[in-house]
Point group: C2
Chain length 115, copies 2
Amino acid sequence: MYICFMSNSKLYKGSLTTIILKLLNENDRMYGYEITQKVKALTKGELNITEGALYPALHKLEAEGLLDVEVAKVDNRLRKYYKLTENGTKETVNKLEELAEYIKTMQALVNPKLA
Amino acid sequence: MYICFMSNSKLYKGSLTTIILKLLNENDRMYGYEITQKVKALTKGELNITEGALYPALHKLEAEGLLDVEVAKVDNRLRKYYKLTENGTKETVNKLEELAEYIKTMQALVNPKLA
DNA sequence: CAAATATACATAATTTTCTTATGTATAAGT
DNA sequence: ACTTATACATAAGAAAATTATGTATATTTG
Protein backbone atom coordinates (compact mmCIF):
# COMPACT_ATOMS: atom_id res chain seq x y z
CA MET A 1 0.00 0.00 0.00
CA TYR A 2 1.59 3.19 -1.20
CA ILE A 3 1.18 6.26 1.00
CA CYS A 4 2.68 9.65 0.48
CA PHE A 5 2.37 12.70 2.70
CA MET A 6 0.88 14.89 0.03
CA SER A 7 -0.32 14.94 -3.53
CA ASN A 8 2.61 16.76 -5.01
CA SER A 9 3.01 20.05 -3.26
CA LYS A 10 5.92 20.85 -0.98
CA LEU A 11 3.81 23.33 0.93
CA TYR A 12 2.72 20.69 3.43
CA LYS A 13 6.27 20.47 4.73
CA GLY A 14 6.14 21.70 8.31
CA SER A 15 2.36 21.29 8.63
CA LEU A 16 2.17 17.81 10.09
CA THR A 17 2.54 18.85 13.74
CA THR A 18 -0.28 21.37 13.34
CA ILE A 19 -2.51 18.72 11.79
CA ILE A 20 -1.83 16.15 14.52
CA LEU A 21 -2.37 18.60 17.37
CA LYS A 22 -5.59 19.94 15.90
CA LEU A 23 -7.05 16.46 15.38
CA LEU A 24 -6.19 15.48 18.94
CA ASN A 25 -7.72 18.70 20.16
CA GLU A 26 -11.00 17.71 18.57
CA ASN A 27 -11.00 13.99 19.24
CA ASP A 28 -9.64 13.65 22.76
CA ARG A 29 -7.61 10.56 21.97
CA MET A 30 -6.51 8.90 18.74
CA TYR A 31 -4.03 6.31 17.57
CA GLY A 32 -1.63 6.70 14.67
CA TYR A 33 -3.41 4.70 12.03
CA GLU A 34 -6.66 6.42 12.95
CA ILE A 35 -5.03 9.79 12.31
CA THR A 36 -3.98 8.78 8.80
CA GLN A 37 -7.51 7.61 8.01
CA LYS A 38 -9.13 10.70 9.48
CA VAL A 39 -6.89 12.99 7.46
CA LYS A 40 -7.62 11.05 4.30
CA ALA A 41 -11.35 11.29 4.93
CA LEU A 42 -11.39 14.98 5.87
CA THR A 43 -9.37 15.93 2.80
CA LYS A 44 -11.24 13.56 0.47
CA GLY A 45 -8.07 11.68 -0.33
CA GLU A 46 -6.05 14.83 -1.08
CA LEU A 47 -3.68 14.33 1.81
CA ASN A 48 -2.22 10.98 2.79
CA ILE A 49 0.14 10.93 5.72
CA THR A 50 3.07 8.54 5.39
CA GLU A 51 3.95 6.31 8.28
CA GLY A 52 7.56 7.44 7.94
CA ALA A 53 6.39 10.97 8.65
CA LEU A 54 3.69 10.24 11.20
CA TYR A 55 5.34 7.96 13.73
CA PRO A 56 8.52 9.96 14.21
CA ALA A 57 6.35 13.09 14.55
CA LEU A 58 4.22 11.46 17.25
CA HIS A 59 7.31 10.27 19.12
CA LYS A 60 8.78 13.76 19.00
CA LEU A 61 5.60 15.38 20.30
CA GLU A 62 5.54 12.85 23.11
CA ALA A 63 9.20 13.52 23.92
CA GLU A 64 8.43 17.24 24.05
CA GLY A 65 5.69 16.62 26.57
CA LEU A 66 2.86 17.70 24.28
CA LEU A 67 1.30 14.24 24.05
CA ASP A 68 0.64 11.43 26.49
CA VAL A 69 0.52 7.88 25.25
CA GLU A 70 -1.49 4.90 26.42
CA VAL A 71 -1.00 1.45 24.94
CA ALA A 72 -4.00 -0.78 24.35
CA LYS A 73 -4.60 -4.16 22.77
CA VAL A 74 -7.63 -4.34 20.52
CA ASP A 75 -8.47 -7.52 18.60
CA ASN A 76 -5.06 -8.86 19.54
CA ARG A 77 -3.44 -5.90 17.77
CA LEU A 78 -1.41 -3.13 19.37
CA ARG A 79 -2.69 0.42 19.48
CA LYS A 80 -1.04 3.47 20.95
CA TYR A 81 -3.54 6.08 21.93
CA TYR A 82 -2.27 9.63 22.06
CA LYS A 83 -3.87 12.57 23.82
CA LEU A 84 -2.89 16.17 24.42
CA THR A 85 -1.20 17.15 27.64
CA GLU A 86 -1.90 20.56 29.15
CA ASN A 87 1.10 21.96 27.29
CA GLY A 88 -0.09 20.19 24.18
CA THR A 89 -3.38 22.05 24.35
CA LYS A 90 -1.56 25.36 24.71
CA GLU A 91 0.71 24.53 21.81
CA THR A 92 -2.30 23.67 19.67
CA VAL A 93 -3.57 27.21 20.10
CA ASN A 94 -0.16 28.56 19.06
CA LYS A 95 0.02 26.33 16.01
CA LEU A 96 -3.43 27.37 14.84
CA GLU A 97 -2.52 31.02 15.25
CA GLU A 98 0.63 30.41 13.24
CA LEU A 99 -1.41 28.79 10.50
CA ALA A 100 -3.80 31.75 10.34
CA GLU A 101 -0.81 34.10 10.24
CA TYR A 102 0.86 32.02 7.53
CA ILE A 103 -2.23 32.14 5.35
CA LYS A 104 -2.57 35.89 5.86
CA THR A 105 1.09 36.50 5.02
CA MET A 106 1.05 34.32 1.93
CA GLN A 107 -2.08 36.03 0.69
CA ALA A 108 -0.36 39.40 1.13
CA LEU A 109 2.43 38.06 -1.08
CA VAL A 110 0.46 36.39 -3.81
CA ASN A 111 -2.48 38.71 -3.82
CA PRO A 112 -1.14 42.11 -2.74
CA LYS A 113 -4.17 43.93 -4.13
CA LEU A 114 -6.31 42.51 -1.34
CA ALA A 115 -3.86 43.59 1.34
CA MET B 1 22.34 42.33 10.08
CA TYR B 2 20.33 39.37 11.28
CA ILE B 3 17.94 37.84 8.81
CA CYS B 4 15.78 34.79 9.28
CA PHE B 5 13.39 33.20 6.84
CA MET B 6 10.39 33.53 9.07
CA SER B 7 9.24 34.73 12.43
CA ASN B 8 9.00 31.40 14.15
CA SER B 9 6.69 29.18 12.26
CA LYS B 10 7.81 26.10 10.37
CA LEU B 11 4.90 26.44 8.01
CA TYR B 12 6.92 28.53 5.57
CA LYS B 13 9.08 25.52 4.72
CA GLY B 14 8.50 24.76 1.09
CA SER B 15 6.96 28.15 0.34
CA LEU B 16 10.01 30.02 -0.89
CA THR B 17 9.83 28.84 -4.50
CA THR B 18 6.19 29.91 -4.71
CA ILE B 19 7.06 33.34 -3.32
CA ILE B 20 9.96 33.88 -5.74
CA LEU B 21 8.00 32.79 -8.80
CA LYS B 22 5.01 34.92 -7.92
CA LEU B 23 7.11 38.05 -7.38
CA LEU B 24 8.89 37.53 -10.70
CA ASN B 25 5.55 37.00 -12.35
CA GLU B 26 4.46 40.43 -11.20
CA ASN B 27 7.69 42.35 -11.61
CA ASP B 28 9.17 41.05 -14.85
CA ARG B 29 12.72 41.05 -13.56
CA MET B 30 14.23 41.29 -10.09
CA TYR B 31 17.55 40.70 -8.39
CA GLY B 32 18.05 38.73 -5.19
CA TYR B 33 18.45 41.52 -2.71
CA GLU B 34 15.44 43.26 -4.23
CA ILE B 35 13.36 40.16 -3.58
CA THR B 36 14.28 40.13 0.11
CA GLN B 37 13.31 43.80 0.45
CA LYS B 38 10.07 43.38 -1.47
CA VAL B 39 9.02 40.45 0.70
CA LYS B 40 9.85 42.39 3.85
CA ALA B 41 7.79 45.34 2.65
CA LEU B 42 4.79 43.32 1.47
CA THR B 43 4.63 41.39 4.73
CA LYS B 44 5.33 44.45 6.90
CA GLY B 45 8.45 42.88 8.31
CA GLU B 46 6.74 39.58 9.13
CA LEU B 47 8.77 37.57 6.69
CA ASN B 48 12.49 38.04 6.14
CA ILE B 49 14.16 35.80 3.61
CA THR B 50 17.64 34.67 4.53
CA GLU B 51 20.38 34.86 1.96
CA GLY B 52 21.27 31.26 2.80
CA ALA B 53 17.78 30.26 1.67
CA LEU B 54 17.33 32.68 -1.21
CA TYR B 55 20.47 32.30 -3.31
CA PRO B 56 20.49 28.50 -3.42
CA ALA B 57 16.78 28.62 -4.30
CA LEU B 58 17.43 31.03 -7.17
CA HIS B 59 20.28 28.89 -8.46
CA LYS B 60 18.09 25.83 -8.35
CA LEU B 61 15.26 27.49 -10.24
CA GLU B 62 17.75 28.64 -12.84
CA ALA B 63 19.20 25.13 -13.15
CA GLU B 64 15.68 23.79 -13.63
CA GLY B 65 15.15 26.20 -16.49
CA LEU B 66 12.45 28.21 -14.76
CA LEU B 67 14.51 31.38 -14.52
CA ASP B 68 16.88 33.22 -16.83
CA VAL B 69 19.65 35.32 -15.37
CA GLU B 70 21.27 38.50 -16.62
CA VAL B 71 24.24 40.06 -14.85
CA ALA B 72 24.48 43.83 -14.57
CA LYS B 73 26.80 46.28 -12.86
CA VAL B 74 25.06 49.13 -11.10
CA ASP B 75 27.03 51.72 -9.12
CA ASN B 76 30.04 49.47 -9.42
CA ARG B 77 28.17 46.69 -7.63
CA LEU B 78 27.11 43.36 -9.09
CA ARG B 79 23.47 42.52 -9.66
CA LYS B 80 21.95 39.37 -11.06
CA TYR B 81 18.59 40.01 -12.60
CA TYR B 82 16.28 37.04 -12.78
CA LYS B 83 13.22 36.66 -14.97
CA LEU B 84 10.78 33.87 -15.66
CA THR B 85 11.28 31.62 -18.65
CA GLU B 86 8.26 30.27 -20.48
CA ASN B 87 8.36 27.15 -18.30
CA GLY B 88 8.80 29.39 -15.28
CA THR B 89 5.56 31.16 -16.08
CA LYS B 90 3.76 27.83 -16.40
CA GLU B 91 5.22 26.63 -13.13
CA THR B 92 4.10 29.83 -11.41
CA VAL B 93 0.51 28.99 -12.31
CA ASN B 94 0.98 25.50 -10.86
CA LYS B 95 2.51 26.80 -7.66
CA LEU B 96 -0.29 29.28 -7.11
CA GLU B 97 -2.86 26.55 -7.65
CA GLU B 98 -0.99 24.39 -5.15
CA LEU B 99 -1.07 27.22 -2.62
CA ALA B 100 -4.82 27.69 -3.07
CA GLU B 101 -5.27 23.93 -2.71
CA TYR B 102 -3.06 23.84 0.38
CA ILE B 103 -5.07 26.57 2.07
CA LYS B 104 -8.34 24.84 1.21
CA THR B 105 -7.09 21.49 2.51
CA MET B 106 -5.71 22.91 5.73
CA GLN B 107 -8.94 24.74 6.38
CA ALA B 108 -10.84 21.49 5.89
CA LEU B 109 -8.60 19.98 8.56
CA VAL B 110 -8.58 22.74 11.14
CA ASN B 111 -12.08 23.99 10.53
CA PRO B 112 -14.07 20.96 9.38
CA LYS B 113 -17.39 22.64 10.19
CA LEU B 114 -16.90 25.02 7.27
CA ALA B 115 -16.18 22.18 4.83
C1' DC C 1 -8.45 -22.09 1.96
C1' DA C 2 -4.80 -19.39 -0.06
C1' DA C 3 -3.72 -14.87 -1.34
C1' DA C 4 -4.39 -10.19 -1.04
C1' DT C 5 -5.66 -6.30 1.48
C1' DA C 6 -6.33 -3.77 5.72
C1' DT C 7 -4.91 -2.73 10.31
C1' DA C 8 -1.06 -1.26 13.34
C1' DC C 9 3.23 -0.40 14.79
C1' DA C 10 8.48 0.83 13.78
C1' DT C 11 13.00 2.44 11.87
C1' DA C 12 16.90 3.48 8.68
C1' DA C 13 18.99 5.69 4.58
C1' DT C 14 18.48 9.43 1.83
C1' DT C 15 16.79 13.90 0.08
C1' DT C 16 15.09 18.49 0.43
C1' DT C 17 14.95 22.76 2.48
C1' DC C 18 16.06 25.65 5.59
C1' DT C 19 19.18 27.93 9.60
C1' DT C 20 23.31 29.60 11.06
C1' DA C 21 27.66 31.15 10.21
C1' DT C 22 30.93 32.81 7.24
C1' DG C 23 33.25 35.27 3.43
C1' DT C 24 33.99 39.03 -0.15
C1' DA C 25 33.25 43.66 -1.84
C1' DT C 26 31.41 48.41 -2.68
C1' DA C 27 28.46 52.56 -1.33
C1' DA C 28 26.32 55.52 1.74
C1' DG C 29 25.22 57.50 5.96
C1' DT C 30 26.80 59.36 10.82
C1' DA D 1 36.62 56.38 10.82
C1' DC D 2 32.89 53.35 11.69
C1' DT D 3 28.63 51.43 10.93
C1' DT D 4 24.95 50.20 8.05
C1' DA D 5 23.15 49.09 3.58
C1' DT D 6 23.69 46.95 -0.79
C1' DA D 7 24.91 42.62 -3.30
C1' DC D 8 26.58 38.40 -4.13
C1' DA D 9 28.12 33.39 -2.43
C1' DT D 10 28.81 28.95 0.03
C1' DA D 11 29.43 25.46 3.66
C1' DA D 12 28.15 22.90 7.93
C1' DG D 13 24.47 21.36 10.34
C1' DA D 14 19.47 20.64 11.68
C1' DA D 15 14.80 19.48 10.71
C1' DA D 16 11.29 17.25 8.34
C1' DA D 17 9.95 14.75 5.02
C1' DT D 18 10.32 10.60 1.25
C1' DT D 19 11.22 6.08 0.19
C1' DA D 20 12.00 1.61 1.44
C1' DT D 21 11.88 -1.84 4.66
C1' DG D 22 10.46 -4.86 8.51
C1' DT D 23 7.16 -7.21 11.81
C1' DA D 24 2.63 -8.99 13.00
C1' DT D 25 -2.44 -9.88 13.17
C1' DA D 26 -7.23 -9.59 11.06
C1' DT D 27 -10.26 -9.51 7.35
C1' DT D 28 -11.85 -9.92 2.82
C1' DT D 29 -11.99 -12.13 -1.65
C1' DG D 30 -11.44 -15.19 -5.38
